[in-house]
Amino acid sequence: MPVVDVDPDELRDLTGHQDKDDEELKDDLFALGLEFEGETEDGAFELEFAPDRLDRLSVEGVARSLRYQYGDDRGVYVPKVNDADWTIEVDDSVPDERPYVTGAVIRDVNLDDDALDSLIQLQEKLHATMGRKRAKGAIGIHDLTMLKGSAVERDDDAADAGETAADVGDDVRVSETNKSISYVGVEPDEDEFVPLDSDREMTPAEVLEEHATGREYADLVSGYERYPAIYDDLGLFSFPPVINGRRTEVSTDSRNLFVEMTGTDQWTIDKMLNVVCYALEARGATVEEVQVEYPDSGVYADDDLVDPGATLVRPNLDVDEKRVAHERIERVLGVALTAEEVVDLAERAGLDATPIDTATGEHPERARERAGSDLPDDPRGSIEGNQATTASADQDADVDAAPTVAGDLVYDVAIPPYRVDVLHALDVVDDLGRAYGFNELEPKSPNVSTTGGRHERSRLERAVRGQLVGLGFQDLLNFHMVAREDNYDRMHVAPADSASAADALGAEPPVTITEPYSEDYEMLRSWALPSLAMVLENNTHRSYPQDLAEIGLVAHVDPDEPTGVREERHVAAVLARADASYEDAKSRLQALARNFDVALETPPTEHPSFIDGRTATVVIDGEPAGVVGELHPKVLVEHDLEVPAVGFEFDLAALE
């Protein structure tokens, strides 16, 4: 889960609540779902939260959420933006793998050390989350004064662009801008620039080999024919998603910024841009639009995100809308609410809800009035002061029996543009519930009756385990993932190419894990006796006899299974003691067979883990199901055992 470092003093400054002490802040943050994990060396809170509210990846975003929680802010806020002065021209040479770009200009930002740190952190955290480690979206922030853009030639293009209607919700206010930069694709060694943290010119290819950051992100672009690059009049200044140029580096002296983002998905980078714009605007900066002009050709021709030749105006601060039924809200939360209360909860969640009666088509304001008229005189007044009382009073009422408002009431709920997590009306209901306070809800038992029961396999397993314990076995619980060496080599068993070619229990072909945690966990065990042998091996200092048993999963590759993996439950047991003999194992096996009323035969066989002449196939009701015998001394010695051991293993299903 994401962790964000937040300076509590900054939080007090940005929320305007200087009176809150650290402990109060921690409680308020916990209520928001931000868990205090510890403090940094500088005394900042390390806050962990679930990866839905990515607008909280900076102190500014956390402060905004707190202001809603405190009731200082209400409803949807959309910052004012100035018209575009800059254009990003996308060239058709841009790499097909990374065709999207977005951007904004930020003016009059006051970047003290804290603000700059916060901006850098936000950038890193967005890269790690939405940006999928820069693969899906990468952010470049530049000092605008270091950019030189030439005037844009625009005649017919503007008219064309005005007609395009891209699917990504851009508006079509296309204006003539004065300056432009261009997003292009370059040959790996086509051009040079001085990257950040370097003092010499390098080609993009050299950056990937010689620069530390370049090496870290080389995998993202190394397969590309052409590398992404951003140019102004002075030349190459950014090599996304790898590194910016040093020329446009942002410092505390920077007053105006150019924010660009490139990626594999327009929606994602637009949303990342919105989060950054909101954070900087919260510090008093002004957001200025940037136009993005896509070419007519290239990958966009068969793209469902951006039409060829589209001109986008960014940031896209359009307010999204979801329609939510009143009945749904009450059903999910299990409480009766008035329309007034719903509207209030929405505003406290930073949303705006407009009630609409779909039956009458009534004007929203009228619907609001009508709904409100069912309430006591001042329904709103009681919410902030006496929420708990109100809540429990509501919960006494049966939601279904006495609907507070008409069943046709719905709300059109406005979602602010920094939200990336609202995919469905249900997400709005969750926001309303959080604003209400989920812990204010009184738990109740669902009024539904069902019959419980165990799965048949689970009942059989429990019954057999009970018998094993009765026969004196210590029940074990071992891992299903094992080392190949433990499963085969140390038991002197060689894996077969196919299950049918396996000539001994355990020799079936392994189900291997493609990228294991370590060699100790590289495959699923094909039989269970190796696990028991390892427990014996690890307990040679403990008293004997050691009679161990396990009923557990084993698996092997089998193309006839739907998953390609044959899964079985095996019953395995060992008896290790100074006088252990074949008969000890056989007698327990007989007891199991007797108790489960199956016919047991043990015709002699050979198995590389057991002594020849003291090994038998376990045949249950005429079907071979496993093996029983005296473990071979080479297996005992391999496991550092100084006492003999006998054992058996067979398929649990044979006892059904």
Partner: protein, 500 residues
Amino acid sequence: MELKATHVAVLETADATEARSVDALADDTGEPPESVAGAAFDLAERGLVDVTERVEETVELTAEGESYRDAGLPEVRLYRAARDVGATDAEAVPMGEVIGASDLGDAVDIALANYARKGYGVVDSGEVTADPDADPDDDAEAMALDAVAAGEAVDEDVLGDLERRNLVVVDEHTVRFVELTEDGVTALMEGVEATDAVGQVTPEMLSSGDWQDAEFAEYDVEADADVEYGGKEHVLRQTAERVKDVLVGMGFQEMDGPHADAEFWINDCLFMPQDHPARTHWDQFALDVPPMQDLPEDLMARVEHAHREGVGEDGDGYHSPWGEEMARGVDLRGHTTSLSMRYLSGHEVGELEPPERYFSVEKVYRNDTLDATHLLEFFQIEGWVMAEDLSVRDLMGTFEEFYAQFGITDIEFKPHYNPYTEPSFELFGEHPETGEVVEIGNSGLFREEVLEPLGVECDVMAWGLALERLLMLTHGFEDIRDVHGTLVDLDFLRDEEVVY
């Protein structure tokens, strides 16, 4: 006082002034040393004798040591040979000549290795000198060999040298000595007799009627008996059974299904975007088997649609890539919610009609960093309720009911985010022992993007938690690796209190 015959013999043979060894007592009583030792310990427990222990050392010549005692140490023989062919400290003689004269055979290397160390001369550049002042008859190691053979004491340093040369074996063993205490003397003076009372009730005694006249020997009924462990269910399994009992009692049916499954059932049905960080090998274990073909095509199309376009009139999908290839990949399941998806889809036990309750307590696999609280495979408790009109309050009530069975009360619901549930809650509860507030699970109502493709038209609430976490909470275990897996200590399992 009546005692067992062996005990009487030991008591009578022991001395009040001299501590006698168990072996000596065994010789005198004619009982095996083990019996004497056992009796001595019993008597010591009654305060009649003192048992003391002493570590004794015995030194014996090895076969090699024995052979050098006969033939002389190799370096001594080398010295004599060197002197024979005329070597002095000034006059070096070629090695070959000396070796030829020495008749050492295989022992040449040993001779050379010890020659200079003991000051007999210098071996350099293929030539040997011999110090005429050295006295081979006064060789400390050679004399020590004789001393060891004669059972005489030997200087510790020299003995160390011999041991390193593998010429002697030093063996340490514990010798136990038994001495009568004052109580023991008193008891003897008052008279002890070997009991001729009946030790064991025998079948013959019962059939003959002899038991009627028999006097039954008195046992020390307070003494500890031999250790008997018997069979026992693994403590984690006991906890799993307990959880299953509780859930069955609450009306839940058990699910069963594959551990290795298509990502489709594990992740895609759960509305986990395919580029979600948890869907990389950093979090889950992919298996080296071919893609799974046997997946319901219509369901897959609906799931893909939910991912791409969302569900409902103004629903949004993800802005993430989605491909069948990934959905068909076979992994070890990261949660048993894959079973819930199979059941809810109607593909496992047929279409389900609400209300239903289902659960599973089974293994899941995650590529996490192994530590005291994280395993690569662990048991997940999973439960869900399917019904018309379920609210968050129903969910809270169900979980309170469940956790109360394990002594966990005052549950707090922290709003949380899961891709597959909304609203979602992390559950926090009070530790029954420490009073600490700890996370005990994750829960929520399944999203419509999950339910609609599955064809479920009512509400489903679900929750999950790790069984190991519940075990650690209720048992106070600190390192889960001590409990689960092949590193388990048998005595831990043997001694652990039974769960009920």
